[in-house]
């Protein structure tokens, strides 16, 4: 069945079964490989994209549920000023290790900072705890979010 969706500002039409998850439409129909498959059940967050700016697990989102929602993936995150700041902080602090979860992390962080420009540690915990990093780069993810927000990056949580 044909679906027309809006991805990173462009209208794209795909012909797939109704239950096909958005993740596989992005990756294998549209060739946008930046969104990753981790668990297939929304446990890990590697497949995070924005639907109308809201972090969404594309691995459990059927294409038939997407409708008119505006989809943003890592390939299109530069379109937002916050997204550009987040990416710049990520690269300056060399956050990633293997990098596989990082597109999901950047999407989650961009949504956080768009909503909460000066997040507390507790805001960060809440917004980011659904995105697993198997390399456990959490120390630098936290610092990069603060840097992108223009906050001091030193970890001042209780010692």
């Amino acid at each position: 069945m044909a679906y027309t969706i809006t991805v990173n500002g462009a209208r794209r039409t795909v012909d797939v079964d109704a239950e096909t998850p958005l993740l596989w439409v992005l990756r294998d129909e549209l060739g946008l490989k930046g969104t990753k498959f981790g668990c297939g059940m929304s446990f890990c967050g590697a497949c995070t994209v924005h639907l109308n700016g809201k972090p969404t697990r594309s691995c459990i989102t059927p294409i038939s549920n997407v409708g008119d929602a505006v989809i943003t993936t890592i390939e299109g995150i530069d379109a937002s000023e916050v997204g550009r700041r987040v990416k710049a902080a990520w690269l300056a602090l060399d956050v990633m290790q293997c990098g596989y979860c990082q597109s999901g992390q950047v999407l989650a962080a961009t949504a956080l900072l768009t909503r909460t420009p000066r997040p507390t540690d507790s805001d960060i915990d809440q917004a980011m705890s659904g995105n697993l990093c198997r390399c456990a780069t959490y120390t630098r993810i936290r610092a990069a979010i603060k840097q992108a927000a223009g906050l001091p990056t030193t970890d001042t949580r209780e010692v």
């Binding site: 490989k33 930046g34 059940m41 060399d94 290790q97 809440q126 198997r134 456990a136 010692v159």
Partner: protein, 756 residues
């Protein structure tokens, strides 16, 4: 071994190869599985390269360096990068000795080519110790060729020329030539002798030792298709491969006609492999489903019904292993691995005996990128492979052997690797993809789903330690025994289920015995980050803490007392054939213990109720690491980790601080996540867990601040992928004891045991 000594000299110029260095190198050699450490610099390129200079090919200086006319330097990254940073770190070393600015360097992934690069792999924290010196010499040889080319051009003595950031200068005549201008001449010169090529004084390093972000960072965040799972080949189909829940069972039949009728499915078939390779990561029986899209193959999999052969191991279960181990604990071990002094007398005359049993579980690797591989068996009999493997040369050989091909017919491309942790040192998924492609005659991408990834791993083996410690009237540890209940495959101890004979306190207690009894295991085991210490350090370092408290000692003071004065203790022969452990330097152990104590304020803090600090040390993968954790426990028993301090000695040079701190912090958090959340259940012969709901990873809200301090000592640089992991678990357990007076002796931590 003689060859190794010849081609890999001591790591500083003019330093004769001392015996410890030689032992160290040959140790690494054996652990790496028979490496061919060719660091030669062939004058003419043999490999075909994915070069970015199509119009005017750059000049090649040896296996690692290409220089274009415009001065752009391309450096080949020889080892897989799964986040430990080798695509950046190793080229940094070359670039520094070559004396070019890092901004002029472009890094490319090297082809998998045993003739040019020997064995290519990333595991065992071995790239730094094995490659630091060869990479320096490869870069220095390139620099030497530039100097020679310039002196011949200008007819001046080499002693009057120098290099500076990609330019050769003859100061006397104010002549200068960029490397790009000289590259054509340099490439025709014979390679200099790598043994004698002059190396930089490390104080002159301009790249090594400086924070250098990963070269792939911008591309990863642009969503470029770098990982194995991202590879595409025209006409490619997608596959899943279902293996028996009970490891190694043969596939007898399957409802293939039903599967073939599912949407998008192009083919479904049984592959018969070699059950004897179940434990060694070869091709074993399974059912392949090939479809136009992976999602379709994975959907059809839900309908698959397979009749598997019944096997004896279908009775195995983790609960049964626990019962067996408990009944064996206080019986005599089947074999004695090490016996020092008069153990029975020491216990007979002890003032106090401490006794405890520890258990740690099976673990999956759960790399976030599931196992996958793209393979294309072509009509001419050749096979091309794109693999996110930690051991691509081994993958090439496995495919050639299994499919009965000339290795020259197999090409393997290294992709970026979405997490390794040792899992991808095994190449079962690679040979599966190749076999499926060969069967269908088309390119195929095999991708495992998360259930398959967790249920067909090479697991960190569980293990059980029953300890006894004998204290004299002054509280000094005089006797120590361990009955280690571990696992075997047939007659042999399972992979990574061995007890290293130098495990502390061995060598530092006069009367000591390590005994072992093995239980038959029907599940594959393998290298999980920081083997074998990732489980053993939890048990040993927690029990050392118990001994300290029983003897009225501070845990730091007890360790310093046992290690004694700074000295080098020769390693005892290991029962793992070919594995030589370098001598243990008590001074380095003391150094990191004292440093971490100082940084953490050990023994000097006033702590609130139900809050405590724990200390642990481990020497593994050539690294000396001590860690302190501060943690508290609430009334419901839930631990909260406030902070981790680590002191780390990996020698005289931190090559890339960007990667070094990230690795050290990540491995510590990895250890903590494991201690808090991870333990696989095996039942009816199969792994029960299927996803991150029961096999948990650490989350952001649980990740404490981690403060890492490197203690620089004049020793060969060694790796950081692993050694900070193991001490994190016992440091946490010891902190929880300090906070609550309750001792956790089984992982993962059960908060019920910590309730107030």
């Amino acid at each position: 071994m003689a060859r190794t000594s010849r081609v890999l000299p001591g790591s500083e110029p003019g330093t004769p190869l001392d015996s410890s260095r030689r032992a160290f190198l040959s140790a690494s050699l054996a652990a790496g599985g028979g490496l061919l450490l060719t660091v030669g610099v062939p004058a003419i390129a043999q490999a075909s390269l994915e070069s970015s200079h199509a119009l005017e090919p750059p000049m090649r200086l040896g296996a690692y360096i290409l220089i274009a006319r415009d001065g752009l330097v391309t450096i080949m990254a020889r080892s897989p990068d799964m986040g430990q940073g080798m695509k950046t770190t190793l080229p940094m070393i070359i670039a520094d000795e070559l004396d070019v600015p890092w901004t002029s360097v472009h890094v490319e992934t090297a082809p998998v080519n045993p003739a040019l690069y020997g064995m290519q792999f990333s595991y065992g924290s071995l790239n730094t110790p094995l490659q630091y010196d060869p990479m320096r010499r490869a870069g220095a040889a390139g620099r030497q060729m530039m100097l020679t080319a310039a002196t011949r051009l200008w007819h001046v003595p080499a002693s009057e020329c120098e290099t500076d950031q990609g330019v050769v200068h003859h100061r006397a005549s104010r002549r200068r030539a960029g490397y790009g201008e000289l590259a054509g001449r340099a490439a025709r010169l014979p390679a200099p002798d790598l043994l004698t090529v002059p190396l930089k004084d490390p104080k002159d390093y301009k790249i090594i030792g400086h924070f250098t972000p990963q070269v792939d960072g911008p591309r990863v965040l642009a969503g470029e298709p770098l990982f194995g799972i991202d590879q595409s080949v025209p006409g490619m189909l997608y596959a899943v491969y279902e293996k028996a829940p009970v490891f190694g069972s043969r596939a007898l039949s399957a409802n293939l006609d039903v599967i073939k009728a599912q949407p998008g499915v192009r083919d479904a078939f049984i592959i018969h492999g070699n059950a004897a390779e179940t434990m060694s990561a070869g091709l074993v029986d399974g059912v392949a489903i090939v479809a136009e899209r992976w999602y379709q193959a994975n959907r059809a999999l839900e309908l698959l019904q397979v009749r598997w052969e019944q096997r004896e191991v279908s009775q195995q279960a983790t609960t049964v292993f626990d019962r067996q181990a408990a009944s064996l604990a206080d019986k005599a071990p089947r074999e004695i691995l090490r016996h020092d002094g008069e153990v029975d007398q020491a216990f007979d005359s002890a003032a106090k005996i401490v006794e405890a049993s520890y258990a740690y579980p099976f673990l999956a690797h759960a790399t976030l990128e599931p196992m996958n591989c793209t393979a294309w068996a072509k009509p001419d009999g050749s096979v091309e492979i794109w693999a996110p493997s930690q051991a691509p040369t081994a993958a090439l050989m496995l495919v050639a052997r299994t499919l009965k091909l000339d290795p020259a017919k197999v090409t393997v491309h290294m992709t970026r690797v979405g997490g390794g942790f040792g899992r991808r040192g095994d190449n079962d998924y690679v040979v599966e993809a190749a076999a499926i492609s060969q069967r269908i005659g088309k390119p195929v991408k095999l991708l495992w789903n998360r259930r398959q990834d967790i249920q067909h791993d090479f697991y960190r083996p569980a293990g059980y330690n029953h300890f006894r410690g004998a204290l004299d009237a002054k509280g000094t540890l005089v006797g120590f025994t361990d009955h280690f209940v571990t696992f075997r495959h047939g007659a042999e101890v399972a992979r990574c289920a061995e007890l290293p004979l130098d495990m502390f306190p061995a060598g530092f207690v006069p009367h000591l015995q390590f005994g072992q009894t093995m239980i038959e295991l029907g599940a594959p085991t393998g290298h999980w980050r920081d083997p074998n210490y990732n489980g053993l350090a939890f048990a040993f370092e927690s029990f050392i803490d118990e001994i300290a408290h029983a003897g009225g000692r501070d845990p730091l003071a007890l360790r310093l007392e046992l290690y004694g004065s700074p000295r080098v203790i020769p390693a005892s022969p290991s029962h793992r054939p070919g594995l030589h452990i370098p001598p243990f330097d008590t001074g380095r152990a003391r150094g990191v213990l004292q440093l971490v104590a100082e940084k953490a304020g050990w023994g000097k803090r006033q702590l609130p109720p139900r809050t405590g600090m724990g200390l642990a040390f481990c020497y593994s993968h050539f690294g000396y690491v001590a860690e302190v954790i501060k943690a508290s426990v609430n009334e419901r028993g839930l631990p909260h980790i406030h902070k981790v301090w680590a002191a780390v000695d990996v020698g005289r040079q931190i090559i890339n601080p960007a990667g070094a701190y990230n690795q050290a912090q990540g491995a510590i958090l990895d250890g903590l996540g494991s201690a808090l959340h991870q333990g696989l259940t095996i039942k009816d012969g199969a792994v029960v867990d299927t996803n991150f709901d029961t096999f948990g990873l650490l989350r952001m809200r649980e990740a404490p601040p981690v403060e890492v301090h490197f203690r620089i000592t004049d020793n060969p640089p060694t790796g950081l992928g692993e050694p900070t992991l193991a001490p994190a678990m016992p440091a946490l357990i010891n902190a929880l004891f300090a906070a609550t007076g309750k001792r956790i002796r089984r992982l993962p931590i059960d908060p019920e045991l910590l309730r107030s």
